[in-house]
């Protein structure tokens, strides 16, 4: 994956990814409401293919499936963060939005190259950082695009 970094801060909770108010009253697209409380210019800056980069504890608090549907609608394929909350990490793998943990120094607008198979992230074509690796078992789930697709293919998790 290659894309421009769109930077967010620490402790971005489910309600900050998208407020439950918008999930309840949605009239079609909710993309324009993503991250509105923590980065009001998000919908103006973000283009499909851009990469979301956050600080510590991304996805804390409530992480309902609808949050992932909203991210998918915006064609978000992964989240890069210093650390990712347990429930977001789990649901991310299950729902096919990759939780990538990486301690890279990234500025807003940097060009990022992400190689999940190799476990590497390159900033502006120069500096390379390792991504926290996924266990083999989860790699299968990730390759299949999430837990349900994986189960459909294998009829088992083991």
């Amino acid at each position: 994956m290659r894309g421009k970094a769109v930077l967010l801060g620490d402790n971005i909770g489910g309600d900050m990814i998208i407020s439950s108010e918008h999930l309840a009253n949605q009239d079609g697209s909710v993309t324009k409401y993503l991250f509105e409380s923590v980065r009001p210019d998000f919908s103006a800056v973000y283009r499909p293919g851009d990469l979301i980069v956050a600080g510590k504890n991304f996805g804390c608090g409530s992480s309902r499936e609808q949050v992932f549907h909203a991210l998918k609608e915006a064609q978000v394929s992964c989240v890069i963060a210093k650390s990712i909350n347990r429930q977001f990490y789990r649901n991310g793998i299950n729902m096919g939005i990759l939780p990538l943990v990486c301690d890279a120094e990234i500025r807003d607008g940097d060009l990022l190259d992400v190689d999940v198979e190799k476990g590497a992230l390159v900033v502006n074509g120069t500096k390379e950082y390792p991504l926290s690796p996924f266990p083999d078992q989860l790699r299968e789930v990730i390759r299949d695009g999430g837990l349900l697709n994986h189960y459909r293919k294998c009829h088992s998790l083991s």
């Binding site: 650390s83 429930q87 266990p135 789930v141 837990l147 349900l148 998790l157």
Partner: protein
């Protein structure tokens, strides 16, 4: 050299596993409720036709209950029809809040791994099991295969010492614990409780502590299997088994000691559950609503404490006191021994065994600028209605005294 949660996972994986290992293991029980239950079922229907072990699971209709809208009534009908078609037990409207219904059903036993599509599923740890909240896709796969993947959590050992003061109960212990854990790395960690004073903590109080663990970001919260747990399980004919205890040389991510003797009745000041202040030091915070109940504090002990304070008295003018038992079993018990009458005579309103306003849905929402004291588990902005309302989370003792006085307090104040 294994912690309780490592032993539980090792037994299921049929090999020794350790913290941070990734495992796929059999899951003993799964609960889905009426918020994301319909999603879980549609996802299940996209991968399988027949639930593999329907007798292991429970569907609870507790959040939108009784239904506040046609859409939720239709969702309930869908859940009922799926439960009947697959032979899954159903806790219908008023039977119980999902976690209490799950415990009373006997589907979670010592040594089990049990999941639920609700964050407070960590409460199942009260019976010496590993309980954790999962997503709808996980529940769909458990229904299809009895399997789920997990990272074996690291463990924070919490030792209780000292003597439990008279006015302190599980909620105060939980709030003190959350405050301490707020400065530690708890994400992905399981709490394991023990120590010389754990035997002084009642089953109902332990359930409140396990319930609140997720508010610190903990993945699970496991109590020991001792006489207190055995008595609760045996009373309901639920097999206890051997139980799971840690090895003496188990490796912990952190150790925490809590001297129960140093605790006082506490409140969590909104909007942070970790902002803890002794109720007596809060100053005069007037309330319009007091709520005693929920999956956090809607058990027999909670209502008995409140009735002990309110018997023969009247709650303050301008205060609404709502009671939400966590199950029909609890409701029967408080009805049978006069606890309920004492509370109703004092001016309380009995509500059904449902989530009610705790989930911000209905049955007692707060208006603009109102303040409530509540034995529920969350005090974040807008949780119980208006975004300008405030929810102070407390024990049933503080909720009862506050209803009596009209302001938040931990003793009777005559003005």
């Amino acid at each position: 050299m294994a912690t309780v949660v490592e032993k539980i996972f090792s037994a299921k994986a049929e090999r020794p596993v350790h913290a941070d290992d990734l495992v796929t293991v059999p899951v003993d029980a799964c609960m889905i409720q009426d918020v994301n239950g319909p999603t879980a079922i549609r996802q299940f229907q996209s991968i399988a036709e027949t639930v593999r072990s329907p007798e292991h699971h429970l569907i609870a209709l507790d959040h939108f209950s009784p239904c506040p809208s046609v859409a939720t009534a239709n969702a309930h009908a869908f859940l009922r029809s799926f439960a009947a078609g697959q032979g899954i037990a159903l806790a219908d409207v008023g039977c119980g809040i999902c976690h209490q219904a799950m415990l009373e059903s006997g589907k979670v036993r010592p040594g089990c791994i049990a999941v639920g599509t609700d964050s407070h599923s960590c409460m199942y740890g009260v019976v010496n099991a590993f309980g954790v909240g999962v997503g709808a896709a996980d529940a769909a796969v458990v229904f299809a295969s009895d399997q789920a993947w997990f990272k074996v959590p690291r463990t924070i050992r919490v030792e209780f010492t000292g003597t439990l003061p008279e006015k302190v109960s599980g909620k105060d212990i939980a709030l003190d614990l959350l405050h301490r854990l707020s400065s530690m790395e708890t994400d992905y960690c399981c709490l394991e409780f023990g120590g010389s004073a754990v035997s002084q903590i009642s089953f109902d109080s332990r359930a409140a502590i396990c319930n609140m663990a997720v508010e610190a970001g903990a993945k699970g919260a496991i109590m020991p299997l001792d006489e207190v747990t055995r008595a609760w399980l045996c009373e309901r004919g639920i097999p206890c088994g051997e139980g799971v205890a840690p090895d003496a040389d188990a490796e912990y991510a952190a150790l925490l000691e809590i001297d129960l003797g140093a605790l006082r009745p506490l409140v969590a000041v909104p909007p942070e559950i970790t902002q803890i202040v002794p109720a007596s030091e809060l100053g005069e915070v007037r309330i319009q609503q007091a709520l005693i109940g929920s999956c956090a504090n809607g058990r027999y002990e909670d209502f008995a404490i409140a009735a002990g304070i309110l018997k023969g008295k009247r709650i303050a003018d301008g205060v609404r006191l709502l009671l939400f038992p966590s199950s029909r079993e609890v409701e029967r018990r408080i009805r049978a021994d006069g606890t309920l009458d004492a509370l109703l005579d004092a001016g309380a309103v009995l509500m059904p065994a449902v989530c009610g306003p705790c989930a911000g849905i209905h049955c007692g929402l707060l208006g603009d600028g109102e303040t409530a004291v509540s034995t529920t588990n969350r005090n974040l902005t807008g949780r119980m209605g208006s975004r300008s309302a405030k929810v102070y989370v407390s024990s049933p003792l503080v909720a009862a005294y506050s209803a009596l006085n009209g302001f938040i307090s931990d003793c009777e104040v005559s003005l």
